[in-house]
């Protein structure tokens, strides 16, 4: 059976789930069950097909919807990589959200919206023409807006930001679509490739910029990143894991599509290159590096744990853009590897944090603390996630970053690597801040009696945690998939074996590194357990310089507020949200235009009718150009 090659199968399975969940949204357990089952079946199909290796890269299915308007769908290994990471993550997140959503009194169809955006995301990776891509893109984007707004202050602003940037992203895709359709008369991906091959430099640059606008926005590339912390910070807790871990990958997918498929290495190199690094590639890479740095440093200064992880997401996606921009086999492999890694660890991080928020109702690091004592399993999962995010060698996180570094070094781009190193130092800083603020330090009295996260929340986290650790031993495993994906976009994967990766300048053997760690572990354990275990004493029983601490003031001995105060003082002026201020200016100008428009409209009904009519004409003209309507 070759289910995935009948893309309709997957979409129908998921679509059924989405439909049922939407219809039965009042009966929450029913909706949950339906979405879990359908997404699990879909994930099973995806994994099964992948394991059988039956991805036909060239087959394309067309589904006629109206007259001549048809959806073209298909998969190749390249899109399968993204499809798989999204489709496998979805059931895990859905299982995870069972418990928190059960108790949440919210009057919105969480599961229905979740499933619709999942359908959209899956459709995006399977689309084989730009119009289909656009339709699924919108299907993926808009349900999320209803999931933003968790009732916390400023969630309205987050919603507005997400809406605005969603529009920006959509108009970017529309721009690409119109460029391609006007120059080639069709909207299939092959047309886009032809358009680039035939087009002038101006068209190509426009393509890159529009691609950055469309997909960079989704992947939170600077300077389009400012919506992400707001939106990630304010979505329903269980959804954030999917939002940041899964949906953001479609942006990466699109960026790869534009750079490596539509434009392609040949055209990029035709503009000259230094050590194989092209100007456009360098531009993307440096933007990615700066994104990584800005994200890291902003994350370091957050007290809101969700925002911290959101900025961390921005930072990690910046690494992927570096890999994309640097290009070449090593860096591209690194970028794709990081896609998988990021999906896993960002999901586990948001899940772990969600579990803490579920139990405590608190998301501010300065008000949390000491969770290791009450939620040890969650802490372990979270710790592994943090280690992966910070690329500590005992998790799979290092392999992808290592490939990106080596790729940059191979090309001799000296300046990128120090910036990335600095970004990774910032990663250590924010990682530790969230660990210290949330899990270590003093346990507040009111949290003394909370329990470990429920089993349905733990299982998905533990699955991902185990995956992160196992892959650390065998970094070559995901390379199987990555090498096939790279072959589909006309690239050669770097040398690898199951346990080690090779680049032009160095090598990394996951097994040997892990064995060294294990050797260290044995030595340390022998050293440690040669002496009797320490006597366990109370958290308040600490060094207070001979004075008595204030009684019942446990929160006063938890140091989490302004954790990196000296750097905040030093760096704030340089990172004082100048990008946000720039966008605020854009908003101001556009709202002035809107005000002008409103003064014309003056609340008159006929005005609106004229406006709607005009918009319809505009859309109709666009559709006419390639769809043959009217």
């Amino acid at each position: 059976m070759n289910l995935i090659n009948e893309p309709a199968t997957l979409l129908i399975i998921l679509g059924t789930g989405a439909g049922t969940a939407l219809l039965l949204w009042k009966v929450r357990w029913m909706a949950a069950l339906m979405s879990i089952i359908s997404s699990a079946i879909a994930a099973g199909v995806v994994i099964h097909t992948g394991l059988l290796g039956k991805i036909a890269s060239n087959e394309i299915w067309e589904f006629e919807i109206f007259n001549d308007l048809s959806l073209t769908l298909g998969t190749n290994w390249f899109s399968y990589l993204f499809l798989a990471s999204i489709a496998v993550l979805a059931p895990l997140v859905l299982i995870y959200s069972w418990e928190p959503m059960r108790t949440r009194q919210k009057d919105r169809p969480f599961y229905g919206l979740f499933m619709i955006s999942l359908v959209g995301a899956v459709g995006v990776t399977m689309a084989r023409d730009l119009l289909t891509l656009f339709l699924f893109w919108e299907l993926m984007t808009w349900p999320v807006i209803l999931l933003i707004g968790d009732g916390r202050p400023r969630s309205g602003k987050a919603m507005k930001l997400y809406f605005g940037f969603g529009m920006l992203s959509a108009s970017g895709i529309l721009g690409i679509l119109s460029i391609v359709s006007w120059s080639e008369g069709g909207v299939a991906y092959t047309d886009a490739v032809n358009a680039m091959a035939d087009g002038s430099t101006g068209i190509r640059i426009a393509m890159v910029l529009l691609g950055a606008m469309a997909f960079g926005t989704k992947a939170a590339l600077a300077p389009f990143h400012i919506w992400a912390p707001a939106a990630y910070g304010h979505t329903e807790d269980p959804f954030t894991a999917f939002f940041s871990g899964g949906l953001s990958k479609t942006g990466i997918y699109g960026a790869f599509l534009v750079v490596d498929v539509f434009i392609g290495t040949t055209i990029l190199i035709s503009y000259g290159s230094v050590n194989g690094l092209t100007p456009i590639g360098f531009f993307i890479a440096i933007t990615g590096a700066i994104t990584a740095l800005i994200g890291g440093i902003m994350a370091m200064m957050q007290d809101d744990a969700k925002k911290l992880l959101a900025y961390s997401s921005i930072s990690q996606l910046g690494y992927i853009f570096v890999g994309l921009g640097v290009g070449g086999s090593t860096a591209t492999a690194g970028a794709l590897y990081h896609v998988l890694n990021h999906t896993a660890f960002k999901a586990v991080l948001f899940m772990g944090l969600g579990a803490v928020i579920y139990r405590t109702g608190e998301y501010r690091l300065s008000k949390l603390g000491g969770m290791i004592h009450v939620m040890p399993l969650t802490f372990w999962c979270f710790l592994v996630g943090i280690f992966a995010a910070a690329a500590i060698p005992i998790t799979s996180g290092l392999a992808s970053k290592w490939l990106i570094y080596e790729g940059a070094l191979e090309k001799g781009v000296g300046i990128l690597v120090p910036i990335l190193f600095l970004a990774s130092a910032a990663a250590f800083l924010y990682s530790f801040r969230i660990l210290q603020g949330g899990f270590m330090g003093q346990l507040r009295d009111e949290f003394k009696d909370i329990k470990e996260a429920p089993i349905t929340m733990l299982i998905p986290m533990i699955i991902i945690m185990i995956a992160l650790i196992v892959v650390a031993f065998i970094p070559g495993l995901p390379m199987e998939l990555i090498s096939r994906a790279m072959a589909d976009i006309g690239m050669e994967a770097p040398e690898y074996s199951l346990i080690s990766l090779e680049s032009g300048v160095g090598s990394y053997s996951g097994l040997v590194v892990m064995l060294a760690v294990v050797a260290g572990f044995i030595t340390a354990v022998l050293m440690f357990f040669s002496r009797p275990l320490g006597r366990h004493i109370d958290l308040r029983d600490t060094f207070t310089a001979g004075e008595e601490p204030i009684p019942n003031m446990d929160k006063r001995y938890h140091y989490a507020w302004k954790f990196y105060a000296p750097y905040e003082r030093f760096l704030r002026p340089y990172f004082n949200n100048w990008i946000g201020k720039g966008w605020a200016k854009v908003y101001k100008v556009s709202s002035q235009v809107a005000r002008l428009h409103r003064s014309v409209m003056n609340g008159d009904m006929t005005g609106y009718i004229w406006l709607i009519f005009g918009a319809m004409v505009l859309v109709g003209m666009v559709l006419y150009r390639y769809g043959g309507w009217f």
């Binding site: 710790l383 910070a390 300046i415 050293m527 004493i537 990196y564 750097y567």
Partner: protein, 316 residues
Amino acid sequence: MTFSTTSWVMIFLTPILAFILGHLFLGISRKFTARIHRRVGPPVMQQFIDVMKLFGKRESTTHSWVQDMGALFAVIGVIASILFIPIGGEAVLSFQGDLIVLAYLLVIAPLGMALGTGATGNPNSAIGVSRGLMLMMAYELPFAMVLVAVMLYYDTASLGDIVAAQKGAFNWAILALPLSAIAADLSLQAMLGEKPFDQPVAPSEIASGPMVEFGGKYLGMLMVWHAMSIVVEAGLFVDLFLGGGVIFPGDSVLGLIGNIIVWAILALMMWLISVSINTVFGRFKMGQSLKFYWGVPTLLALLSLSYVVISNLGVI
């Protein structure tokens, strides 16, 4: 993966060697500092005695299992990283993981220790750890530039290859990239946690910061970590810039032992340079050390890096 007999022997000997050298280095530095202070100072073996004493304590206290884990992590990380440092030209495991891997391996120990100290619930520890991480961010920029410059100069990321490439008379990287070497030595000062960059443990400010809740064998573990990390960091400098101490042909066992001794002497020299700076300087504040590291050392490292990049392009 092919391991020669020497490699196997070295894998087992390296941690022991690092343990002995580390404590010896600390003992020598205590004597050295004492002489600058016009004191007699403790015997060179005092550091071993101290560690013995700490492990011999009948009782030690812990606040949570993460504190135990932190002490373990510190030693795990340092043992794992010493295995990837070529000693006397003998690349123990370094051909299986290059400088980038090593750069991340080096972080396990401090981050693990940070975990353990954070779990004690003492605000002093938390401040100390936050300072340590901030310091890491400060010196990481020049140090990363140094690493990149060296890697691009030798066109390899493998530390073993870098050491091998420096074989021969007057072929050390310190002569080829002097500015990088200066920047690296300045970064080394913070890496070793010596003044003026010892803010993480500043006793007069945060009562020794991270160590404040550690006692008995827990402190013993941290002291072992500290001693071994000195060897790792000074040894990394030796490998990067001083040819890895390779003077004798390393084919014979005798030559290897000679190389290891030269390596140890060079590492001790780097450590004593750091200690002598330590004795005549006070302590910067956090913001000041960031300003310092993102100033002169970064500039030096950047100059050196641009020189390497430009010369790689064939202009020079």
